[in-house]
Symmetry: C2
Subunit: 278 residues, 2 copies
């Protein structure tokens, strides 16, 4: 699960790419996952909130739905993503009080204690030094302010039928993300990362997505159009890196696709953390 990268590298370092298809996938994904991920997150009227790494605005619109009267600052490293996020928010939340910032998480363009709350979703997974990023975000958060972090963990993918090929396609994604400096297995580490960055009252809760034949809409929107689509999107990178031949990649992908058939099942766990700047 991903949104736009905040790597200081060029855009091409973003493991999922920046194509229109990818932007649509991120939109579908956010809609499907919204209830699961955003439940419990609503910022009070007037509060100053920073969304760091807003990407194409997939999560931004959900934040604004839950807290329409907050004062939101949405930041991203990619000017192109930011433009798309602005279009999306204009269409879906036209009256929102929102400031768009083209900026880098590693050089935050805000004074200390500028925000009451910070929100990140699918951002830390792309960073080479997530603790440094969290510590930087803590400095722009007022004492007593909160941070909310949502991440996936590809090691949580559990499915039937199990198979080495299906597992291999996911491993390609994990490996390419690691080579780009990220960590696709970061969800399980949120507690130690936030603690190390100086946050207090760290609370992590798993949020589990599970789909089987009893929930065909979820099989379609999550298993197929979110997870398998994400794995499929690494095909060019996996082939270029020599991780698989085109035939091997197709065969392994077919194995993963079996989990979306009527006798298949698919489970994925997200991690949602909240913590306080002491």
């Amino acid at each position: 699960m991903t949104t736009e990268t905040l790597n200081t590298d060029t855009d091409t370092a973003y493991v999922h790419g920046y194509s229109p298809v990818e932007a649509r996938r991120l939109g579908d994904q956010a809609d499907t996952l919204a209830a699961l991920l955003h439940e419990g997150t609503a910022y009070p009227p007037g509060s100053r909130v920073l969304e760091a790494g807003c990407g194409v605005g997939a999560q931004t619109v959900h934040l604004l739905t839950a807290g329409p009267d907050m004062r939101l600052t949405a930041m991203d490293l990619s000017a192109d993503s930011l433009a798309r996020a602005r279009d999306r928010v204009s269409a879906q939340a036209p009256g929102a009080d929102i400031t768009w910032v083209h900026g880098d998480l590693h050089r935050l363009p805000f004074p200390e204690a500028s925000f009451d709350h910070v929100f990140l979703c699918f951002v830390l997974e792309h960073l080479a030094d997530p603790v440094a990023a969290l510590a930087a975000l803590r400095r722009v958060l007022r004492p007593g302010g909160t941070i909310t972090v949502i991440e996936g963990d590809h090691g949580s993918a559990l499915f039937h039928p199990e198979g080495p090929g299906a597992r291999r396609t996911i491993d390609h994604l994990v490996r390419l993300q690691a080579e780009a400096g990220g960590d696709a297995l970061i969800g399980r580490r949120l507690h130690p990362l936030l603690s190390e960055a100086g946050f207090g009252r760290v609370e992590v809760r798993p949020r589990t997505m599970y789909a089987d034949a009893a929930r065909p809409a979820l099989v379609e929107s999550f298993t197929r159009r979110t997870f398998i689509a994400m794995v499929e999107a690494v095909r060019p990178g996996a082939l270029a890196a020599g991780l698989a031949t085109p035939e091997e990649f197709e065969r392994d992908l077919a194995e993963l696709r079996r989990t979306a058939e009527p006798d298949g099942t698919f489970l994925y766990t997200f991690f949602k953390a909240t913590a306080v700047n002491p």
Copy 2:
């Protein structure tokens, strides 16, 4: 996660053994997990309920707490376990209407449609043919009656720090259980298994246990005293099978124990299914 086996083999086939320490572990485990696993399960007064594979009664007392006025039949293959279950229930739910049956899941000693509800917890994982067992249970369930099945899935174990040794100790357990004819990765298969056995309206929900330094009591009761204790209990079997030397086993176990340290995290997903006999 386990309770007494219903294998038709001798007692020694039960991968976790029958020692008093094991019985206490199962009791601790049931207490810790009770809220997570039993939430939503309460049988109405007067309803005829079969608990198949009640073991030492670890789940039985929770069933009786939630539905004290049901008419419960508790069955197990092990006379010794059944005696312990009876003691436990006498102490904790003395007035319960309960019939104890020393019987085999593969040769159910009940007429057709004898029960309104059937309940199984940590039983299918030990069976060579879970579909046959479910189909047999369906025959003693009245039309319109429900079945509730709870199972773990060791493939869901997700932890920090991750390490090959920690993973290996879990693999020993999975392998020994497979060699005894069971499947420690059965949770993800509940939907297809129940469907294949002829049940309708199959609904599976994951129930996730997660422990980190913010919840030290859960680290102690679940990560250490339930999961790691279970893995540790396969030491004799793993050594006898030549899966590891004593030194290797200790080193790998130490790696798994790291997940219960203050910077560690541990997650495990149970699967709870309900279905209807059409």
